[in-house]
Amino acid sequence: MKPLLAALRAVLVLTAVCGVLYPLAVTAVAQVPGLKDHANGSPVSVNGRGVGSELIGQSFSDADGRPLRRYFQSRPSAAGDGYDPTATSASNLGPEDIVDRDGEPSLLSTVCARSRAVGELEGVDGSRPYCTGSGVGAVLSVRPDRVTSVNEPCPAAPFVAEYRGVKVECATPGQDPRAGRIVPVRGAAPADPAVPADAVTASGSGLDPHISVAYAELQARRVAAARGVPVGAVRALIDEETTGRALGFMGEPVVNVLRLNIALDRAAPRRG
């Protein structure tokens, strides 16, 4: 009994020290000028109205989820319906998640579809290795007598007509693709696709406020056209909102999308 009583008293006193005094002391220190803004979530406001946090990414799409052409687009997000801080999450799909299941697209098909959509939006080639032209994973289920394109349900025309002399069929419902050997097909897409990696993959938090410099550069022309301003002016803003590696070697250079879009609204207000 004696150790249990001692334990109970120890838990209580250490809770007071580590669970009340410590966090409150840190909170008090964090409220001094210079730290206060950070401690309260780095809020950003436009014309005095709070529009979010500099550290939390946002979607820049219309009510139907279509990207707004006048804004730079953030990365794909797996947090709730996208950029939901009450449901932070990654996709958690693995590197060989390449076969769609029951209408649920695989990670590969998701990547292919995003790449195609970004390509169309930005007017560049959206093709990638292991993707079909229609924007799904180019994956075959191979049996000696029968080859199926597993991510292309009938009546779609498969992305290749033949595989090693066997006619490739579209996928019929109820058929188990794992009955055959799963073979991803690389295809003829360039090794260095026009659409950058971060544009087709979800972040860890689902709240990533940044995009790569390459993805920002890719979007500059479309945004400039939508706002009727020279591309050079938009590129200058990208430069301003780019953060390099800390001390020259930590992390990667990134562009803060919310700050960039606010700067755009200020420099090139939308007409009408």
Binding site: V17, A87, S91, N92, L93
Partner: protein
């Protein structure tokens, strides 16, 4: 500068700082755990707890105190979660469900911080800071205390006494963890981590949509979460969340905090046994294995082998732009080499071989450098096993630091190493045998098995990271993983203390020409070899069916 060069400099700068800091910190911990002087605040705590700080305990008494403290901690944390709805700062969240509350209580008390819940939608500020974060401190302190008792067992002669648990616990909290955590927390706020007690509030975004911005005492919890190798995130996204880990340099600080104490404790050990070279040898084994792992994981992630990463042209799924692939891989190595389990990127989406390295890191038993305290006693027991194996080869009675490794000692050491593989493999086997637990897998094929294997490996080794696609908020996983965490933490602790007790009683044998020197590079190589062979033989079949089957084709 290329991404690879920057990634190498990132690792190199961490190594440099660790090399510089482990000496003063190790010496500080040596003073902390050998000093006879009590602070006034500490005396007050001992009076409240009702113990005599100058009375020492034998191993069984020490173990009883550890277990009593942990049992009461579990009950207190369980109660706090269940009553959440009636307490302050609950943010409107009700009591946590019984099985999740049980799993979480064990998880935080065992220094695992496996999370079957999503922080931002389950836990209010009070449970986070006065329940979960308290265990971040004290579970880490328990690990350090047991390590110190174990080292005393090696250092002392002809005594049964290993120290006083309550004194070790209190000093670890007040003199080691609190000061460093406080500095770390303020540094994180400077980078942008939040620290407030605000409710979530809704804003209208630039495009007119609504977004809820969360609040919370995050930085104070984040600092001790890394420093105490705990790993339980304030938010579901853990250290990938911009409010927990806002910049590339806070990421560097968080990795440093994770590695700081585990890499400094060997110095403390060397000082306590009166031969610093012994500490250098132990830290050399840890550093060798750690460097190997960091290199492998970075290489696998940067090479991005696998269908999806090759289509994407980089392993960026589940990683944050500001960290990039390399710094994410380095964090992943640090978190699984220790018992931390915090993540700044999601291991489930890693390349097959990269994911295999994170699994392997935990399977090694988290000794390179391991969790705070648990890494040191784990590595010292491996050194004892190595001495025994070497003794068998040359036909001499094995001894470590003058202590004979007899039948009783080697039985305890062997049992210590059998506990976790038993839990991992039996647990995974049971889960795979039933339809329900199998249905929790998000991914199919070998990757699905990897998810389950990862869960039991993480729980039994008290890591807490996950292949997070697995749905673990089910009664089966809450109960099974809860048991895995409890047995995986406390059976090894009791065995380590029993071993320490039996070593402390001995009269050291004088070194002779036949004694194996345990401070030379030869010994470092042997311990590293024994560590890898033990793991390879135990876990290779399971790894072959999971990540290796997925990654090699």
């Amino acid at each position: 500068m290329g991404a690879t060069t920057a990634g190498i400099l990132f690792v190199g700068s961490l190594i440099l700082v660790l090399v510089a800091v482990h000496v003063p910190l190790g010496d500080h911990m040596h003073r902390t755990f050998t000093s006879r002087h009590h602070w006034t605040a500490e005396r007050l705590i001992y009076r409240i707890v009702g113990v005599d700080p100058d009375a020492e305990q034998v191993w069984s008494g020490y173990a009883r105190s550890v277990l009593a403290f942990s049992v009461v901690s579990v009950l207190a944390l369980y109660g706090l979660q269940r009553l959440q709805g009636r307490l302050l700062l609950s943010l409107g969240y009700g009591g946590v469900d019984p099985d999740v509350a049980w799993n979480t209580a064990i998880s935080f008390v065992t220094n695992t911080n496996w999370q079957a819940y999503s922080g931002e939608s389950t836990m209010g500020h009070l449970v986070q800071m006065s329940g979960l974060a308290v265990q971040n401190f004290v579970s880490a302190a328990v690990g350090i205390a047991v390590a110190m008792a174990f080292v005393r067992g090696l250092a002392r002669r002809r005594t049964g006494e290993l120290g006083n648990f309550w004194v070790d616990l209190t000093r670890a909290v007040l003199r080691v963890l609190l000061p460093i955590a406080a500095i770390g927390a303020v540094a994180l706020v400077a980078g942008g981590a939040i620290q407030n007690l605000a409710d979530p509030h809704t804003v209208t975004t630039l495009t007119g949509a609504e977004q809820t911005i969360t609040g919370g005492p995050v930085a104070s919890q984040e600092a001790i979460k890394e420093l105490g190798t705990n790993g339980g995130g304030f938010y579901n996204a853990n250290s990938a969340h911009p409010f927990e880990n806002p910049t590339s340099w806070t990421n560097w600080i968080e990795i440093l905090l994770i590695l700081l104490i585990p890499f400094s404790l060997p110095r403390t050990f060397g000082r306590m046994v009166g031969d610093r070279r012994q500490g250098v040898a132990i830290v050399a084994v840890m550093a060798t294995l750690a460097l190997l792992s960091v290199t492998l994981l970075n290489t696998a992630q940067l090479a991005h082998h696998g269908t999806v990463p090759e289509s994407v042209t980089a392993a960026t799924e589940g990683t944050e732009s500001r960290f990039g692939v390399s710094n994410s891989a380095t964090f992943a190595a640090a978190t699984t080499l220790t018992s931390t389990g915090a993540v700044n990127s999601f291991h489930d989406s890693y390349t097959s071989l990269g994911g295999a390295v994170t699994l392997l890191n935990m399977m090694v038993g988290e000794v390179a450098p391991g969790g705070v305290g648990s890494g040191l006693y784990g590595m010292l027991i491996l050194a004892i096993v190595t001495v025994f194996v070497a003794g068998l080869m040359v036909g001499r009675t094995p001894a470590y630091l003058g202590k004979r490794i007899g039948p009783r000692e080697i039985k305890l050491a062997s049992l210590y190493f059998l506990v976790t593989p038993m839990i991992v493999l039996v647990g995974t086997g049971i889960a795979m045998a039933f339809e329900g637990p199998r249905g929790s897998m998000l991914n199919t094929g070998p990757h699905g098995l990897s998810e389950v294997l990862y869960a039991f490996t993480s729980a039994a080794n008290n890591n807490g990271s996950a292949f997070a696609g697995l749905t673990v908020a089910t009664t089966f996983y809450d109960v099974a993983l809860g048991l895995a965490m409890a047995f995986g933490r406390f059976l090894p602790i009791v065995l380590a203390l029993a071993l320490a007790g039996s070593l402390a009683r001995q009269t050291p044998v004088p070194a002779s020409a036949g004694t194996l020197p345990t401070h030379r590079p030869q010994f470092v190589g042997m311990v590293a070899g024994v560590t890898l062979i033990l793991v390879a033989l135990t876990f290779f079949p399971a790894l072959a069916l999971g990540p290796l089957a997925e990654g090699i084709h």
